[in-house]
């Protein structure tokens, strides 16, 4: 493309920064990483073509510092910025500042972000376009209005922060008696989190699924949808496992959801990649929830079932290219599942577990993709989100994708820090997950169940034998006697062998 970017700055860290660096490399565009003081040795710094320090560990002073990031862009000669997800990715002010600085923001316009950023203003635009909403109010409410609306839609209802996201400022209210205290606490939580205490009310949907549709719109008026993602496996409103397609969406429902998603995007003049989130009730009615105006963490499952590369397409679209295909060209094939690997301890209240990864063995082979931001020996800093990596499995069918993911989890080994790898094994072997019976409360219910201890039976004995062998041989940390090319049959520092025959002597 003649007017492709000369250089792209990635205003992010971790796996997504590495993901975008790889796309830039593949497109022949030099990439610029930025890093805080604790990220000097981070993987994204090592993978990028250029890297510049932008300040202290605290995100506010570095990854959220618009001025510093734009100064680096200018200094390095970057003519575009990819924001990744999180940090500044949904900050309309940043998009605006990029435009002012003559640097292309790879994402939607600030105007479209503003419309979608406030849930109530988004609702106005959508309602006019006939997008289905959960019954409730379409704007921030006074307490008196809240009482009226809640009576009208019927309890239970949800209070939500108008400027919110990520579960903050949300309250479930079962009866009018609870409404006042919930209204107040939601409002004050929203104020603290989003600088706006506005709350609104929605009918509470029992055991809903969270299903979202990926859209892609160019700057010439074309917009397509790329199938859906089922993201119902959540803990504290944070997605844990995502998959595509959804076990509950058939061709007809996909068409309706997709067309609705395109309508949502077009009503806001949306461009680039975005995601339209829906709540789906048990009768498979879907209701618009919100639009995420950025690349999602879980975009790889869509890439695997469509065969497309969303980051390449984001960059092409931002550079002014037309979408290189039409809706009818989009073919979905197979099934993809993603696990978000976090540095947290699922056996101890999901406490975060930063620290040094002393060993790291990652899975590979057929149908396995890993988008990682870490490496063996890296010290995961305590200053940011605990996501280490995304493990994605693709296979012809959902059953095979589950089995493949289990196989990959078996191969995965991380030591030095705690991770949630064992949690995925438990979820993936749960009968409800296997049956595709998912809803946003499923994981919490599963965690409340007693885990079956049966599985460990055999391996505890093996662990004891291994521990004894390690103890017998000092520590087994060094793999000592291997002299370069010499010892072809002596790769290991030591070998032991006890045969029953030996005992008979």
């Amino acid at each position: 493309m003649s007017n492709m970017f000369k250089k792209i700055l990635i205003a992010n860290r971790g796996e997504i920064a590495v993901r975008v660096v790889r796309a830039c490399r593949e497109m022949g565009i030099p990439s610029v990483a930025v890093y805080s003081d604790v990220d000097r040795a981070a993987l994204h710094v090592q993978k990028a073509d250029e890297a510049y320090a932008i300040g202290p560990a605290a995100a506010r002073a570095s990854y959220l510092n618009i001025e510093k990031i734009l100064a680096v862009a200018k200094r390095a000669g970057a003519d575009a910025i990819h924001p990744g997800y999180g940090f500044l990715s949904e900050n309309a002010e940043f998009a605006q500042a990029c435009a002012m600085a003559g640097v292309k923001f790879i994402g939607p316009t600030a105007a479209a972000m503003k419309i979608m950023g406030s849930k109530t203003s988004a609702r106005h635009a959508m309602e006019a376009a006939g997008v289905p909403f959960v019954p409730g109010s379409s704007r921030g409410l006074s307490f008196e209005e809240a009482v009226d609306v809640a009576r009208k839609v019927g309890y239970p209802v949800m209070l939500k922060a108008a400027a919110g996201g990520g579960g903050k400022g949300m309250r479930l209210v079962h009866a009018e008696a609870e409404l006042k205290s919930a209204y107040e606490s939601a409002g004050s939580e929203a104020s603290r989190a989003f600088d706006s205490g506005e709350v609104y009310i929605e009918k509470f949907i029992a055991q809903p699924r969270h299903i979202e549709v990926q859209v892609l719109a160019d700057e010439h008026g074309s917009c397509v949808y790329l199938g859906e993602r089922e993201c119902s496996v959540q803990r504290r409103h944070q997605k844990v496992i995502e998959e595509s397609p959804s076990p509950v969406v058939d061709e007809a429902m996909r068409l309706r959801m997709g067309q609705t998603a395109v309508k949502v995007a077009q009503s806001a003049g949306y461009t680039n990649a975005g995601t339209v989130e829906f709540l789906v009730d048990s009768a498979r009615n879907f209701f618009f929830l919100e639009m995420n105006t950025r690349l999602q963490v879980e975009h790889p499952v869509t890439e695997l079932v469509t065969g497309l590369d969303l980051v390449h397409l984001q960059i092409q679209i931002a550079a002014g290219a037309k979408l290189p295909f039409q809706q009818k060209d989009v073919q979905l094939r197979g099934h993809a599942i993603e696990c978000r690997v976090y540095a947290e301890d699922p056996d101890y209240h999901f406490f975060p577990s930063p620290g040094k990864m002393t060993a790291l063995q990652t899975p590979a082979g057929p149908g396995i993709r890993e988008d990682s931001g870490v490496y063996e020996g890296w010290t995961v800093p305590l200053d940011y989100d605990p996501m280490l990596s995304k493990l994605i499995a693709y296979a012809p069918s959902r059953d095979q994708a589950i089995a493949r993911m289990q196989r990959a989890l078996d191969e995965y080994f991380i030591s030095g820090i705690k991770t949630n790898l064992a949690l995925f094994r438990r979820i993936l072997s749960h009968p409800d997950f296997i049956a595709g019976k998912l809803d946003t409360g499923m994981l919490d219910r599963m965690l409340a169940e007693k885990p079956s201890a049966a599985k460990s039976g055999g391996n505890a004995r093996i662990a004891a034998i291994a521990a004894a062998i390690f103890a017998l041989n000092g520590n087994g940390n060094s793999n000592g006697n291997a002299n370069g090319a010499h010892a072809s049959s002596e790769a290991a520092a030591w070998k032991l062998s006890a045969r029953k025959e030996g005992l008979r002597r």
Binding site: G355, S415, A460, A466, L503
Partner: protein, 172 residues
């Protein structure tokens, strides 16, 4: 050599094993018994901290790590805490007293920053009451008192950075 080993699964189930390994003159293990049962064993250290075990023909790839809590052993995605004791040694069981007698420490379960001291020195607390809040990776975690008593000592000020295992408070 004989080892008494306690293996605790992630779910908290603990099991004890007695593992006997006998070395021959060449240093090789000639005999392996687990709880008295003889097993055909073949072990190779394939990488630092990674063991390939063949036990009665079954293959296991075992990873080993150390943390503040001791040794962990990972086998195909499961992680176990192991506590290895050589019964001939005089060293007592390392397990800390588990009751509620005497002063108890509250230790940091992870590195982080102290964001709030909920119960300053001298405060009377119930078992399970929050004492200190630490934050890491955008998550706040309340550390609770292990027993009813009085906060004898707070070792960390608000804003301080702490490491995993640091004793942050003492309850007496």
């Amino acid at each position: 050599m004989t080892f008494e080993i306690t293996v605790t699964s992630a779910a908290g189930a603990a099991e004890n094993f007695r593992v006997e390994l006998t070395r021959g003159k060449d240093g090789n293990v000639t005999e392996c018994r687990v709880n008295g049962e003889a097993l055909a064993l073949d072990a190779a250290l394939t990488q630092p901290g990674v063991l390939s075990l063949l036990i009665e023909g079954r293959s296991y790839r075992v990873g080993r790590a150390h943390s503040a809590e001791g040794m962990q052993i990972g086998i195909s995605g499961e992680t176990f805490e192991v506590d290895v004791r050589d019964p001939r040694s005089l060293r007592a069981r390392k397990r800390a007293g588990a009751g509620t007698e005497g002063p108890k420490k509250i230790t940091a379960p992870m590195p982080g920053k102290v964001v709030r001291v909920l119960a300053p020195e001298g405060t009377r607390v119930e078992a399970g009451q929050g004492v200190i809040v630490i934050e890491a990776m955008k998550m706040q975690n309340e550390l609770k008192s292990p027993k009813a008593g009085v906060v004898k000592k707070i070792n960390s000020a608000e804003g301080a950075t702490v490491n995993a295992g640091d004793a942050l408070a003492v309850i007496e």
